[in-house]
């Protein structure tokens, strides 16, 4: 396996423009001869599909939901970063780049991250022109808020529903092209395999989730925009249908999977309330602008929070990190929450929560101001917990939220399978070992609107993609593999439900491949995952049949893939004998619990090659060295 990141030469700030000037173009009359499949219609997929269609390509857009508008990008709350410097607080493309690469703990590529920062401003322009109703100041110009990991205000927002508004903008742009006839639209379709012919991605196998029919689709290139794999933990802030299947099946066809152990655990989520819990709900990080995080100083203090006097409260983020305080990056905030609850200072009935308190902000600004900023989030909290956060501090705890890892891509966002492009959360490219808040929307849209439309042209102009038919043997083989797996799942007819297996897998992952990891824990996780996977294939009960709408069959196939991915995540975490960003190895931390990164030995992207599953996952590690020409690697400090 050859992994060439294809980073253009030259000064950092000239790389992308120079690359755009040098790459091949496809002429308008040739564009209409090409067919491109886009899988997933979140921010990356919808924006890529719309932009490719506007250029004149024929596009087929697939999504598992009943409408493209429901992709999980819709749930992003807080905002989207851009280096507009509208606040005159000294922001710049360089600063956004620097904060993002530092926030990722120097485990991402300089060139990719710089390009992301460059594209950020175009995204805001595009969204405003589409009619996205961003928050505005009295004068009618755009407003900003602050987010974790930055000392400038660069986050654009639409109340607490920024993801929804940006996604609807991209979805509407996509529907405009459905109307023009350039996009064929396939909702309620799930990609089950990638078809590779002569080493190139030439199509997909997809199941019509209504009729159950497994179908073959041919293309000249495939763009995978299928999001992250946080649901491997069972409980996460991801939507219930978010899954790794499309990406994992590409991995099994030869695409390298990069940095699978880099999982973001978001510090401000509503704590688990019981065994029946099906998902976790995030409270936007923007709340940390005004809320203060604390726990009682006394272990096991069961007094109601408002009865605990000021001098008996431990504002641990403010005390430990005076310059960033409550606005430290997500990994730092999550790790500290775990430390104080491990020390017995946690609150709530489970002891697995900390307070996020708005008392002082309400005293300072008044309840109306706080309501105007966060009203919908407070309502959501009250609705779920039955507690009023204007009167009682919120209880929060970390939860799995975002996966920085994903399919390996080069600078053109193409995987190591020519013709397979990967955009948005599904790729690994821009966030390193930790993603800063308000950067996911930026990356999804940067990839979809402003990168893939150029780089796909370069691929199509520079490569021979002869016409092929879906009668080709490779299509037949992939179709029968996909169908065969569904039959196999249905044939087990065991005693344990899919959710029972998934919940058990999630517990292993949370306990041993979660906020902190150790060699011992990871090794036992690998064993446990293997055993549970064997049991799954012998004892799972999948209801119904495959030739009609059957959501539990969809789940079963996804859980089967999680069982393989889970082992890879543990192996990746075992390989990385350092702590960086979200990845905290107990063996590699200071006495105060700060991460110890090892740049000498681990400044690389782990790219795993799939070799098979035979009791255990057979896999091979390839390393893409990360080279830093423009920034100096520093120990991250938010103190």
């Amino acid at each position: 396996m050859k992994l060439d990141p294809k980073i253009p030469s030259g000064p950092l700030e000239e790389k992308w423009n120079r690359h755009k000037n040098e790459i091949n173009l496809v002429s308008p009359n040739n564009k209409r001869k090409h067919h491109i499949i886009v899988v997933g219609t979140g921010l990356a997929g919808a924006s890529a599909a719309a932009s490719l269609a506007e250029l004149g390509y024929n596009v087929s857009a697939f999504c598992i939901q009943d409408s493209g508008r429901r992709a999980h990008s819709i749930a992003a709350q807080g905002g989207i970063n851009a280096a507009k410097n509208y606040q005159n607080d000294g922001d710049s493309v360089w600063r956004l780049f620097y904060d993002t690469i530092k926030g990722g703990d120097y485990r991402s590529r300089e060139a990719n991250v710089y390009r992301l920062a460059e594209n950020s401003n175009n995204i805001i322009d595009q969204a405003v022109a589409q009619g996205v109703p961003f928050g505005r100041e009295y004068g009618g110009l755009l407003d900003n808020r602050s987010f974790g990991g930055a000392q400038v205000s660069r986050t654009f927002y639409s109340r607490g529903q920024t993801g929804q508004q940006l996604l609807l903008g991209a979805y509407q742009a996509m529907m405009k092209e459905v109307h023009s006839g350039k996009i064929k639209y396939f909702p309620r379709h799930e990609m089950l395999d990638l078809v590779v012919v002569d080493g190139k991605a030439r199509g997909i196998i997809s199941r019509d989730l209504v009729s159950g029919e497994v179908m073959k689709f041919q293309a000249d290139a495939v763009v995978l925009c299928t999001g992250g794999y946080g649901n491997v933990f069972y409980l996460s802030t991801n939507a219930k249908n978010s899954n790794v299947t499309a990406a994992w099946r590409c991995h099994k066809r030869g695409a390298a999977f990069a940095n699978p152990c880099f999982v973001q655990i978001h510090p401000t989520c509503i704590p688990v309330s019981g065994d029946y819990q099906s998902k976790l709900t995030l409270m936007s990080e923007s709340l940390r602008n005004d809320g203060r995080v604390w726990v009682p100083k006394k272990k096991g203090d069961k007094r109601p929070p408002n009865e605990i006097p000021e001098d008996e409260r431990y504002y641990y983020l403010e005390e430990r990190y005076p310059s960033f305080g409550n606005l430290v990056p997500r990994d730092v905030a999550s790790r500290n929450a775990k430390m104080v609850t491990d020390d017995g200072m946690g609150v709530g009935s489970s002891g697995l929560a900390v307070y996020l308190d708005f008392r002082d902000a309400i005293k300072r600004d008044g309840e109306d101001v706080i309501r105007a900023k966060y009203g919908n989030l407070f309502d959501m909290y009250q609705n779920i917990t039955d507690e009023n956060p204007y009167k009682t501090p919120m209880r929060i705890f970390p939860a799995v939220h975002y996966t920085m890892g994903g399919l390996w891509v080069d600078y053109n966002l193409m995987s190591n399978i020519p013709g397979l492009f990967v955009a948005g959360e599904a790729n690994f490219s821009d966030h390193g070992a930790n993603r800063l808040g308000a950067s996911a929307l930026m990356q999804g849209l940067s990839d979809g609107y402003f990168i893939v439309p150029y780089t796909i042209g370069d691929y199509l102009a520079g490569n021979d993609v002869p016409k092929i038919s879906t009668d080709h043997d490779a299509f037949k083989e992939a179709e029968s593999t996909a169908s065969g797996q569904l039959d196999k799942l249905l044939a087990v007819k065991g005693d344990k439900t899919i959710i029972e297996f998934h919940r058990e897998l999630g517990k292993i992952m949370w306990d041993k491949v979660g906020i902190s990891r150790s060699k011992e824990g990871l090794e036992s996780a690998v064993e446990e995952i293997r055993n549970l996977r064997d049991e799954f294939w012998q004892n799972v009960r999948v209801p119904g049949e495959k030739n009609y709408y059957n959501k539990y069959l969809e789940f079963a196939a996804r859980v089967a893939d999680y069982f393989e991915l889970a082992e890879l995540m543990a192996l990746d975490a075992l390989d990385r004998n350092e702590s960086c960003g979200c990845h905290l190895r107990d063996e590699y931390q200071t006495e105060e619990g700060e991460a110890i990164r090892n740049d000498k030995d681990y400044s690389y992207v782990s790219a795993w090659e799939y070799l098979g599953v035979n009791g255990k996952l057979e896999t091979k590690l390839h390393k893409e060295p990360l080279e830093f020409e423009f920034v100096e690697l520093k120990q991250r400090s938010y103190k």
Partner: protein, 248 residues
């Protein structure tokens, strides 16, 4: 923590050709902090263990924003709680021994796929007809060149917040999609960016709504009452006003 026994009467329908029927179920040990959909998950776990096909229903984000879930509970779209999508409804709204009737949203334009899952692709086609600003990627001017008064932006947001769940259609005696269509028209038509295509958009979307088999609006306002995000029927007035202006 108290637990309850809940009696369920759920619509079961194999596919669009099956006439469908109600089936009774009894569920013990329902926890008050469970969400309504988690209660159905537990029911399904029991059904799967018994060897029965689980109840199919649509859901995804389970945080009230994706608009996938759309159950009609005791005759009310999204259930008893005002401005709350069914995924955000909790069992604490119910009492031990209650009987809950669960149906799909019923409308000719929303054919049933299976059990409680319906086909809402008509909504996509209404947006496809004109629910956008025709700006190509890369063609946008600098964002702050288009100032929008804060009030205008807030009003546009209030319409743009629609989650496309279809509760408005389920609640309307005419099965009208006027609230959904009006919300998108009012969002885009209220902004400077939406002006060039204002008339064209309004006519195209209203015509498509009719073509899909949705009824007309008779001002019952049932839609606003069940809307989980509180879209105002003022959007329907905006749509009608703009439609009249557009056709003359």
């Amino acid at each position: 923590m108290s637990t309850m026994t809940i009696n369920l009467k759920i619509w079961r329908q194999k596919n669009s050709n099956d006439p469908g029927h109600f089936e009774d179920y009894k569920l013990d040990d329902v926890n008050e902090h469970m969400s309504f959909l988690e209660m159905l998950d537990v029911l399904n776990e029991n059904l799967i263990k018994e060897g029965t096909d689980p109840v199919e229903f649509d859901y995804d984000c389970r945080e009230g924003i994706c608009g996938s879930c759309n159950l009609v509970i005791n005759g009310r779209a999204h259930g008893p709680k005002h401005m709350t999508a069914v995924c955000q409804l909790h069992m604490r709204e119910y009492n031990n021994g209650d009987t809950i009737v669960i149906e799909p949203p019923r409308a000719a334009a929303f054919p049933v796929i299976k059990d409680l899952v319906v086909d809402r692709s008509a909504f996509d086609r209404i947006i496809e007809a004109g629910g956008y600003v025709s700006v190509k990627t890369g063609a946008a001017p600098e964002a702050n060149l288009i100032p929008v008064p804060q009030d205008t932006s807030n009003i546009a947001f209030d319409y743009a917040t629609c989650i496309g769940c279809g509760a408005c259609v389920a609640a309307c005696p005419n099965s009208s999609a006027s609230l959904f269509t009006g919300a998108k028209i009012a969002h885009l038509n209220s902004l400077p960016q939406g002006q060039p295509e204002r008339d064209k958009r309004t006519i195209a979307m209203v015509n498509q709504m009719e073509k899909e088999g949705f009824g007309d609006c008779s001002n019952f306002a049932e839609c606003e009452a069940v809307c989980p995000v509180g879209i105002s029927i003022a959007s329907i007035a905006e749509m009608r006003k703009d439609y009249v202006k557009a056709i003359f």
